[in-house]
């Protein structure tokens, strides 16, 4: 079998890094979306959802421009490190974070806002600060949403193609992910290799999602009643 293990390792590394960062970034953003009463909240919601509808090439193009040496951000990074962000692993991470942002924020925000407001009111009347309410009530009750969000980000990053191609190019060991490797194999008419890699990716992603949804079954949801027996 001619599976490109290097590409696999790189892809998993990228997916893990992006999942961890988006988990941390996604929580406060989702909290704000779920509970803010600002009038312009809808603008932020639309912005967060944008990567779902945009072609990855459009997103990748603008990220590439933003990271390149002509943009202020690119110049700043270059003066700091001596090289541009484009065609590096870090650049790939940044692009993937933007690309997968809605897959973290939307499930998080949905599970935050589905929590009964009475529980939050009760927490406040018992003297809890908003942060305590968040960590002791909102987070524990949102575990299924958090797991779903993290899993979606992971799987989505595992399989992304367009953004990676635009930002990362195709540098073995640095930016050549599994999906790009498969593309290369197909271009070179190595269908057997392409099939092996593709099948492995398919099985792997399926397993990850199976484990997540299996864990998420919430065995005793029914016993989580909060009020009097009706």
């Amino acid at each position: 079998m001619v599976i490109n293990w290097q590409a696999f390792r790189l892809t998993i590394e990228l997916a893990v890094v992006v999942s961890v960062i988006l988990f941390v970034l996604g929580l406060p953003l989702a909290y704000w979306i779920a509970f803010s009463r600002r009038r312009w909240k809808f603008l932020v919601e639309a912005l967060v959802a944008l990567p779902i509808v945009l072609p990855p090439t459009v997103l990748g193009f603008y990220v590439l421009v933003a990271l390149g040496s002509r943009s202020p951000l690119g110049r700043w990074w270059q003066s700091l490190t001596g090289h541009t962000l484009a065609f590096t692993f870090t650049g790939l991470v940044i692009g993937s974070i933007i690309y997968s942002l809605p897959f973290a924020v939307q499930p998080f925000a949905a599970s935050f806002s589905s929590i009964d407001g009475k529980l939050l009111a009760a927490s406040a009347t018992l003297g809890a600060s908003p942060f305590r309410t968040f960590s002791k009530v909102i987070l524990p009750l949102s575990v299924p949403g958090l797991v779903t969000g993290a899993a979606l980000v992971f799987a989505h990053t595992m399989g992304e193609f367009g953004v990676v191609l635009m930002i990362g190019g195709n540098i073995p060991g640095v930016t050549r992910t599994v999906s790009i490797d498969i593309y290369d194999q197909v271009q070179a008419s190595n269908y057997a290799a392409a099939n092996a890699t593709a099948l492995l990716l398919l099985v792997f992603c399926f397993l990850v999602l199976t484990v997540v949804y299996g864990l998420n079954r919430a065995p005793n949801r029914k016993t989580w009643a909060i009020g009097p027996v009706k």
Binding site: D116, A121, A122, L126, G127, A128, R132, A225, G227, P228
Partner: protein, 388 residues
């Protein structure tokens, strides 16, 4: 020798003046009340939508009034004039919400300790344990809310609110879903707790029996206003307003005119009018009308009143009874029978149409059916008079 500082009264009174308007496209609702609640139970009594829960939300700080002032003793929680609006978490107001809002992922013990986060672990544990013991739920401490009964959840919710030693306790229909024995046991425990602590307890309900069981003082709410206040007996025994009467469960309410006054016997005779009379149409039997003997109130002959009679206070007989102490015996005919929750709701035409309640067994043993001639027996003191 230094003179001791004048002690702040141990049990401050809750005082409130609240105005709050909710507007939507369909309707707008204005709450406009002024009240005070001394240590002990004060009951907010009224139908749903009358604004009882909004008052509690304002005191707890979950809803900000448009204008007014809320204070416990000298501690101001809200004052629109002074721009004071203490944060919910800093009010020290115990609030048991209508559906309890126990934290489903925490055990009974963790729920009870939730409001004590600022204390060291040992103190926290000790106080929670004492409170769980006092409310008889110590053996449930490792269970989650989903694994205990409704009455037990109620106790947990009370323990969780009271363990923080609040300066005021707000209870929103806390016992609505419980059966009477469970209810009265919980009320006993709560009353015993408050004998030691003596804080104002605002208790929202629309259940008559809770009113009579608890009532020291009642505020009757209607459409965002307090329409009556006093002891339960004052509020229910001599209802002045028809809204109160409907709340108090009078199925039969009639317009009446005072026919004669019997000062010596402490009674009056009132002529009952049906809706048909008031609309100017003659009653079935021309010239017949219903006279009722009622308790004496301060009213002159010819004055217009309303009479309320509970359907459950009316006795029904299939032969004309003799030798009764009840003063009102009316001949009538059963118009309809309807069975609801093991009770028969019957309508009897006796010059006016009255609703009468009795049991399934009574229906069967007396062979009551539509069209049957019956006699209605109503005690003088079952006729409650009110102004109109």
């Amino acid at each position: 020798m230094p003179t001791p500082a004048e002690p702040e009264p141990v049990n401050p009174t809750l005082t409130g003046r609240i105005r709050k308007t909710f507007s939507s496209t369909e309707r707008s609702f204005t709450l406009d009340v002024e009240f005070d609640a001394a240590p002990g139970f004060t009951i907010l009594f009224g139908s749903s939508g009358s604004g009882k829960t909004t008052i509690l939300d304002c005191i707890a700080g979950l809803v900000a009034p448009d204008a007014g002032r809320i204070a416990v003793g000298k501690r101001v929680l809200f004052d629109s004039g002074l721009h004071v609006n203490t944060a919910v978490a800093k009010r020290a107001v115990g609030y048991v919400l209508q559906d309890l809002a126990l934290f489903p992922h925490l055990t009974v013990e963790q729920n009870t300790e939730y409001g004590l986060a600022h204390l060291p672990r040992s103190v926290r544990w000790e106080r929670a344990a004492a409170m769980l013991h006092e409310f008889r739920i110590a053996d449930l401490r490792q269970r989650r809310p989903g694994e205990i009964s409704g009455g037990e959840r109620q106790r947990v919710a009370l323990a969780r609110a009271l363990v923080t030693e609040p300066c005021v306790l707000l209870l929103d229909e806390p016992l609505a879903a419980l059966d009477s024995p469970t209810k009265s046991k919980i009320l006993d425990d709560l009353r015993r707790w408050n004998e030691a602590h003596g804080i104002p307890i605002l208790y929202v309900t629309h259940a008559r029996e809770e009113l009579l069981a608890l009532g020291e003082r009642v505020l009757v709410m209607e459409e965002g206003c307090i329409v009556a206040q006093g002891t339960p007996h004052e509020v229910l025994g001599a209802p002045l307003q028809e809204t109160v009467a409907q709340l108090a469960g009078f199925e039969n309410i009639f317009d009446a005119t005072v026919e004669s006054v019997h000062q010596d016997r402490g009674t009056m005779t009132c002529r009952i009018m049906t809706c048909r009379i008031t609309t100017g149409l003659p009653v079935g039997d021309a010239g017949s009308f219903v006279l009722l003997e009622t308790p004496l109130i301060r009213a002159e002959v010819g004055s217009h009143l309303r009479v309320g009679i509970r359907a459950g206070d009316i006795l029904l007989a299939i032969e004309k009874p003799v030798g009764l102490s009840a003063r009102n015996v009316l001949a009538g005919r059963l118009v309809s029978l309807e069975s609801r929750f093991m009770t028969i709701l019957a309508r009897v035409e006796c010059g006016v149409e009255m609703e009468v309640h009795f049991t399934l067994a009574a229906r069967d043993s007396l062979a009551l059916a539509e069209g049957r001639e019956v006699w209605l027996i109503i005690k003088t003191h079952s006729c409650h008079l009110m102004r109109r």
